[in-house]
Symmetry: C2
Subunit: 304 residues, 2 copies
């Protein structure tokens, strides 16, 4: 949410948008996390997120329509996962260029629907309009138990930093069109170890970790050698490219040890420890094999 | 919702989209009304709708950014009103062409925010992406007491048909950019007389009445002379142009009489009786001053 703002004033734009929120008392968390958090009932919060994908920016013209549909929903489900929640209902807007067949549009829905089934998402409505370039917007609701909500803002110095899978090369390999959002992993985490912070990696490890550091008012050190990378992806690709849609989370160090033991013993999921949270606010360092620290900008890929 | 489908298979496309819904048990009504209806708690339903507006289709390039923001939210609030509900929380996606200033984008939010304040809507999140043409998608939640929900499907033969204001000329006059959604009128109606069906007029009187007729499996006669028209708008404009965002509703005839008396006595709101519901499914007739019936197609303006 507001992950890829224009370079014109970037963070300044997000901050200025915040003033337009008019938040009512039922809003627990508005702009500034992967999804908004709304009061639902005594035990649960409702989560609410939206993502727009545009031809030529988030996918190329020749992309298979099923893949376009898949991605449009998957990146929203990933936002719900990043809060520790499960997705429930979606509405879908499609801007359709002239000359596209009904069959093509149905394939987009088919791709979306196949993924929706896996995660129990109901597609309950939408809008279809004319547009110059294929544009899909999904808005998605989710739910999370109040005790299991995870925000970006809870990382504390000493916490260990993890990711759920290898990073980099997502665009080149086409992985961004077929990734499975990490709902299971997120639910395992919130039901067992409860991360202190979590976010999905859409803008790149450095950028999304940057969002966590800013929200939590802390810094971080990443151990370069520990960052898992996809085949053919260098460290810079893993750090900056984005669209990986793996989860990035932090855990207090005692819990982190237990998680590592648990993973080792039961081979459940894949969690890679890649670094640690430090006190210096929003400072991000890379540690090389020799232990030397190099400060980098907490920024990843932007579409602008 | 799905109001302006492509001509390629139009209704066929909507019908085929329905098969992709995967509706869960918490979905009371999915695709096919102004908003989706979801189970919320013992007394209330949650409403969920979305609308996308695109430069060159729903507004022209030179349109004031505040007006663009106003319209993007207003047409969603209108959908919630058409169900009898009140709007609560919105998420906003904006596709931004290159070269637009942060100031321009902030004015869009300012227009949206001013309207949001009037109706108590919290803007809780969103997405900003690069696009060739300015594109705004709003997804909006609302609430309605279970006993006050109004669908398109409840119109019965003998019911009287009403609209909340004059029709036609909305695009030419710029009214589509500054209209105030009829939430107050809708709430007055559901709290007092409870319409048997309701819809907002976005595709034009003939088109939107057509949606009601299809959903209710009934027909209708419109008295041409009774249809209120905006200054400069002919009958055909009132019938077809759309973007009026007035409410169209039906009331059993006893309630209709009471509503007319009530309006006359207290001068509350403006409700115009324009015709009646008949048995013949999806047949729409215009009655002229001499009582002659002319059958017309239940279709309004489409963007395709």
């Amino acid at each position: 949410m507001f992950k890829n703002p224009p370079t014109i004033g970037e963070f300044q734009l997000i901050d200025s948008i915040k003033k337009f929120q008019n938040l009512s008392s039922c809003v627990i968390k508005g702009v500034g996390d992967d999804a908004a958090v709304l009061e639902l009932d005594a035990k649960r919060y409702q989560l609410f997120t939206t993502d727009m994908i545009v031809e030529g920016v988030h996918f190329l013209k020749g992309t298979a329509p099923r893949s376009i549909g898949h991605k449009a929903l998957a990146c929203n489900i990933s936002d719900i996962a990043a809060m520790g929640g499960v997705p429930t209902c979606a509405v879908v807007s499609i801007g359709i260029p002239k000359g596209l067949s009904a069959d093509y549009i149905q394939k987009i829905y088919a791709g979306m629907s196949a993924l929706a089934k896996i995660f129990g998402v109901s597609i309950v409505g939408g809008d279809t309009v004319r547009a110059d370039k294929m544009t899909i917007n999904v808005a998605l609701l989710g739910e999370v138990e109040k005790s299991r909500l995870v925000l970006r803002s809870g990382a504390r110095p000493g916490d260990r930093i993890f990711v759920t899978g290898p990073l980099g090369g997502s665009l080149k390999s086409g992985r961004h069109l077929r990734f499975i959002p990490r709902v299971k992993e997120a639910r395992f985490l919130v039901e067992t170890f409860l991360p202190s912070s979590m976010i999905d990696i859409s803008d790149g490890l450095a950028g999304d970790l940057g969002h966590v550091l800013k929200a939590s008012k802390v810094g971080a050190i990443i151990d370069a050698a520990k960052v898992p990378r996809n085949k053919g992806a260098g460290f810079e690709a893993a750090l900056r490219e984005g669209e990986d849609f793996e989860l990035l989370f932090s855990l207090p160090s005692a819990k982190a040890q237990k998680l590592i033991q648990c993973v080792h013993k039961w081979s459940v999921f894949r969690f890679f420890e890649i670094g640690e949270i430090i006190t210096l606010p929003v400072r991000l360092f890379i540690r090389d094999a020799g232990g030397r620290l190099r400060r980098i900008k907490p920024k990843g890929f932007t579409h602008f």
